[in-house]
Protein backbone atom coordinates (compact mmCIF):
# COMPACT_ATOMS: atom_id res chain seq x y z
CA UNK A 1 0.00 0.00 0.00
CA UNK A 2 1.29 3.46 -0.84
CA UNK A 3 -0.96 5.52 1.46
CA UNK A 4 -0.67 5.67 5.24
CA UNK A 5 -3.29 7.78 7.07
CA UNK A 6 -3.55 7.89 10.84
CA UNK A 7 -5.10 9.93 13.62
CA UNK A 8 -3.33 9.22 16.89
CA UNK A 9 -3.70 10.47 20.45
CA UNK A 10 -0.03 9.89 21.25
CA UNK A 11 3.24 11.54 20.13
CA UNK A 12 4.00 11.09 16.43
CA UNK A 13 7.25 9.33 15.53
CA UNK A 14 8.98 11.35 12.82
CA UNK A 15 11.70 8.83 12.03
CA UNK A 16 9.30 5.93 11.57
CA UNK A 17 7.11 8.09 9.29
CA UNK A 18 10.12 8.81 7.10
CA UNK A 19 11.21 5.17 7.16
CA UNK A 20 7.74 4.18 5.95
CA UNK A 21 7.82 6.38 2.82
CA UNK A 22 11.41 5.52 1.84
CA UNK A 23 11.84 3.06 -0.98
CA UNK A 24 14.59 2.04 -3.42
CA UNK A 25 12.66 3.72 -6.27
CA UNK A 26 12.44 7.11 -4.61
CA UNK A 27 15.05 9.82 -5.02
CA UNK A 28 13.57 12.56 -2.90
CA UNK A 29 11.37 12.84 0.16
CA UNK A 30 9.70 16.00 1.32
CA UNK A 31 8.44 16.06 4.87
CA UNK A 32 6.28 18.72 6.47
CA UNK A 33 6.24 18.77 10.26
CA UNK A 34 3.82 21.07 12.04
CA UNK A 35 4.91 22.19 15.50
CA UNK A 36 3.12 24.02 18.30
CA UNK A 37 4.28 27.62 18.41
CA UNK A 38 4.66 29.49 21.69
CA UNK A 39 2.65 32.49 20.50
CA UNK A 40 -0.15 33.51 18.16
CA UNK A 41 -0.67 37.11 17.08
CA UNK A 42 1.76 38.18 19.79
CA UNK A 43 -0.11 36.36 22.56
CA UNK A 44 1.61 33.62 24.57
CA UNK A 45 0.19 30.14 23.99
CA UNK A 46 0.35 27.64 26.87
CA UNK A 47 -1.00 24.54 25.11
CA UNK A 48 -3.00 23.49 22.09
CA UNK A 49 -5.84 21.01 22.10
CA UNK A 50 -6.75 19.15 18.91
CA UNK A 51 -10.09 17.47 18.39
CA UNK A 52 -11.00 15.38 15.34
CA UNK A 53 -14.19 14.01 13.84
CA UNK A 54 -12.17 10.90 13.38
CA UNK A 55 -14.11 8.82 10.86
CA UNK A 56 -14.66 11.78 8.55
CA UNK A 57 -11.16 13.18 9.06
CA UNK A 58 -9.64 9.86 7.98
CA UNK A 59 -11.93 9.94 4.93
CA UNK A 60 -10.86 13.45 3.96
CA UNK A 61 -7.19 12.67 4.53
CA UNK A 62 -7.50 9.62 2.27
CA UNK A 63 -9.06 11.80 -0.42
CA UNK A 64 -6.08 14.15 -0.23
CA UNK A 65 -3.63 11.25 -0.51
CA UNK A 66 -5.52 9.70 -3.44
CA UNK A 67 -5.62 13.10 -5.16
CA UNK A 68 -1.87 13.42 -4.70
CA UNK A 69 -1.25 10.03 -6.32
CA UNK A 70 -3.43 11.05 -9.28
CA UNK A 71 -1.88 14.49 -9.75
CA UNK A 72 1.83 13.82 -9.22
CA UNK A 73 4.26 10.97 -9.92
CA UNK A 74 4.55 10.16 -6.23
CA UNK A 75 5.43 6.75 -4.78
CA UNK A 76 4.18 7.01 -1.23
CA UNK A 77 2.39 9.50 0.95
CA UNK A 78 1.88 9.44 4.71
CA UNK A 79 -0.35 11.79 6.70
CA UNK A 80 -0.43 11.45 10.49
CA UNK A 81 -2.34 13.86 12.72
CA UNK A 82 -2.32 13.90 16.48
CA UNK A 83 -5.21 14.76 18.79
CA UNK A 84 -5.44 15.76 22.46
CA UNK A 85 -3.45 18.26 24.50
CA UNK A 86 -0.09 19.29 23.02
CA UNK A 87 2.65 21.36 24.60
CA UNK A 88 4.85 23.94 22.89
CA UNK A 89 7.25 22.28 20.46
CA UNK A 90 5.17 19.12 20.08
CA UNK A 91 4.11 17.88 16.66
CA UNK A 92 0.44 17.84 15.63
CA UNK A 93 0.97 16.81 12.02
CA UNK A 94 3.48 15.03 9.78
CA UNK A 95 3.14 14.70 6.02
CA UNK A 96 5.81 12.75 4.17
CA UNK A 97 5.90 12.32 0.40
CA UNK A 98 8.38 10.19 -1.54
CA UNK A 99 8.89 10.55 -5.28
CA UNK A 100 11.48 9.69 -7.91
CA UNK A 101 12.08 13.42 -8.45
CA UNK A 102 11.99 16.21 -5.92
CA UNK A 103 9.64 18.64 -7.69
CA UNK A 104 6.73 16.22 -7.32
CA UNK A 105 7.56 15.55 -3.67
CA UNK A 106 7.63 19.27 -2.80
CA UNK A 107 4.48 20.18 -4.71
CA UNK A 108 2.48 17.23 -3.44
CA UNK A 109 3.52 17.80 0.18
CA UNK A 110 2.58 21.48 -0.01
CA UNK A 111 -0.76 20.61 -1.61
CA UNK A 112 -1.46 18.03 1.07
CA UNK A 113 -0.92 20.33 4.05
CA UNK A 114 -2.73 23.25 2.38
CA UNK A 115 -5.73 21.05 1.60
CA UNK A 116 -5.69 19.38 5.01
CA UNK A 117 -6.00 22.78 6.66
CA UNK A 118 -9.02 23.59 4.47
CA UNK A 119 -11.00 20.39 4.43
CA UNK A 120 -10.12 17.92 7.18
CA UNK A 121 -12.49 18.10 10.18
CA UNK A 122 -9.97 18.69 12.91
CA UNK A 123 -10.15 21.63 15.32
CA UNK A 124 -7.53 23.42 17.34
CA UNK A 125 -8.18 25.21 20.62
CA UNK A 126 -5.53 27.65 21.77
CA UNK A 127 -5.10 27.64 25.52
CA UNK A 128 -3.80 30.96 26.91
CA UNK A 129 -3.00 31.85 30.49
CA UNK A 130 -6.28 33.79 30.69
CA UNK A 131 -8.64 31.66 28.64
CA UNK A 132 -9.02 29.57 25.51
CA UNK A 133 -10.23 30.01 21.96
CA UNK A 134 -11.30 27.70 19.10
CA UNK A 135 -9.11 28.84 16.20
CA UNK A 136 -10.86 30.32 13.13
CA UNK A 137 -14.35 29.79 14.56
CA UNK A 138 -15.36 33.45 14.39
CA UNK A 139 -14.85 36.03 11.63
Amino acid sequence: MNIDIKILDMPLNIQSCIDWVMSPECGGIDVFIGTVRNATKGKKVVQLEFEAYESMAVNEMKKIAEDVLLKWPVQKILIHHRTGLLNIGEVPVIIAVAAAHRAAAFEACRYAIDTLKQSVPIWKKEVFQDGEVWVAAHP
Binding site: G34, F50, E51, A52, Y53, S55, M56, A57, N59, H81, P92, V93, I113, L116, K117, Q118, S119, V120, P121, I122, W123, K124, K125, W134, V135, A136, A137, H138, P139
Partner: protein, 80 residues
Amino acid sequence: MKVNVLAFGIVKDIFGNSAIDVDINNAATVEQLKVQLEEKYPRLKQLASYMVAVNNEYAQQDQLIEIKDEIAIIPPVSGG
Protein backbone atom coordinates in the same frame (compact mmCIF):
# COMPACT_ATOMS: atom_id res chain seq x y z
CA MET B 1 -38.50 12.21 12.71
CA LYS B 2 -35.79 12.45 15.34
CA VAL B 3 -32.16 12.62 14.22
CA ASN B 4 -28.98 12.71 16.22
CA VAL B 5 -26.60 15.57 15.43
CA LEU B 6 -22.89 15.38 16.36
CA ALA B 7 -21.07 18.52 17.46
CA PHE B 8 -17.35 19.34 17.27
CA GLY B 9 -15.10 22.20 18.32
CA ILE B 10 -16.98 25.33 19.23
CA VAL B 11 -20.32 23.77 18.27
CA LYS B 12 -19.96 21.45 21.26
CA ASP B 13 -19.84 24.59 23.43
CA ILE B 14 -22.85 26.08 21.60
CA PHE B 15 -24.95 22.93 21.99
CA GLY B 16 -23.62 22.33 25.50
CA ASN B 17 -23.14 18.73 24.40
CA SER B 18 -21.21 16.57 21.92
CA ALA B 19 -24.49 15.37 20.37
CA ILE B 20 -28.12 16.46 20.45
CA ASP B 21 -31.41 15.03 19.23
CA VAL B 22 -33.38 17.19 16.80
CA ASP B 23 -36.95 16.68 15.59
CA ILE B 24 -37.18 17.42 11.88
CA ASN B 25 -39.84 16.88 9.22
CA ASN B 26 -39.60 13.79 7.10
CA ALA B 27 -37.77 14.66 3.90
CA ALA B 28 -36.16 17.69 5.48
CA THR B 29 -33.10 19.09 3.72
CA VAL B 30 -29.76 20.07 5.19
CA GLU B 31 -30.82 23.71 4.78
CA GLN B 32 -34.00 23.16 6.78
CA LEU B 33 -32.00 21.47 9.54
CA LYS B 34 -29.67 24.49 9.65
CA VAL B 35 -32.58 26.95 9.93
CA GLN B 36 -34.05 24.93 12.76
CA LEU B 37 -30.73 24.69 14.60
CA GLU B 38 -30.05 28.40 14.17
CA GLU B 39 -33.43 29.23 15.71
CA LYS B 40 -32.63 27.16 18.77
CA TYR B 41 -28.90 28.04 18.89
CA PRO B 42 -28.51 31.62 17.54
CA ARG B 43 -24.75 31.57 18.29
CA LEU B 44 -24.37 29.31 15.24
CA LYS B 45 -25.01 32.41 13.11
CA GLN B 46 -22.03 34.16 14.67
CA LEU B 47 -19.58 31.54 13.35
CA ALA B 48 -17.34 32.46 10.41
CA SER B 49 -19.11 29.62 8.61
CA TYR B 50 -20.17 26.06 9.26
CA MET B 51 -20.93 22.99 7.19
CA VAL B 52 -23.11 19.96 7.71
CA ALA B 53 -21.66 16.52 7.13
CA VAL B 54 -23.89 13.60 6.30
CA ASN B 55 -22.38 10.14 6.60
CA ASN B 56 -18.83 11.53 6.80
CA GLU B 57 -19.15 13.68 3.66
CA TYR B 58 -19.73 17.40 3.33
CA ALA B 59 -23.40 17.84 2.34
CA GLN B 60 -25.08 20.23 -0.10
CA GLN B 61 -27.86 22.53 1.14
CA ASP B 62 -30.58 20.63 -0.75
CA GLN B 63 -29.50 17.15 0.35
CA LEU B 64 -32.35 15.20 1.96
CA ILE B 65 -31.76 13.86 5.44
CA GLU B 66 -32.70 10.28 6.16
CA ILE B 67 -33.40 8.68 9.49
CA LYS B 68 -30.25 6.55 9.64
CA ASP B 69 -27.83 9.28 8.50
CA GLU B 70 -24.88 10.24 10.66
CA ILE B 71 -25.16 14.02 10.84
CA ALA B 72 -22.44 16.35 12.13
CA ILE B 73 -22.03 20.10 12.39
CA ILE B 74 -18.60 21.16 11.13
CA PRO B 75 -17.44 24.62 12.27
CA PRO B 76 -14.39 26.14 10.48
CA VAL B 77 -11.66 23.53 10.57
CA SER B 78 -8.24 24.43 12.01
CA GLY B 79 -6.12 21.29 11.99
CA GLY B 80 -2.51 20.96 10.90
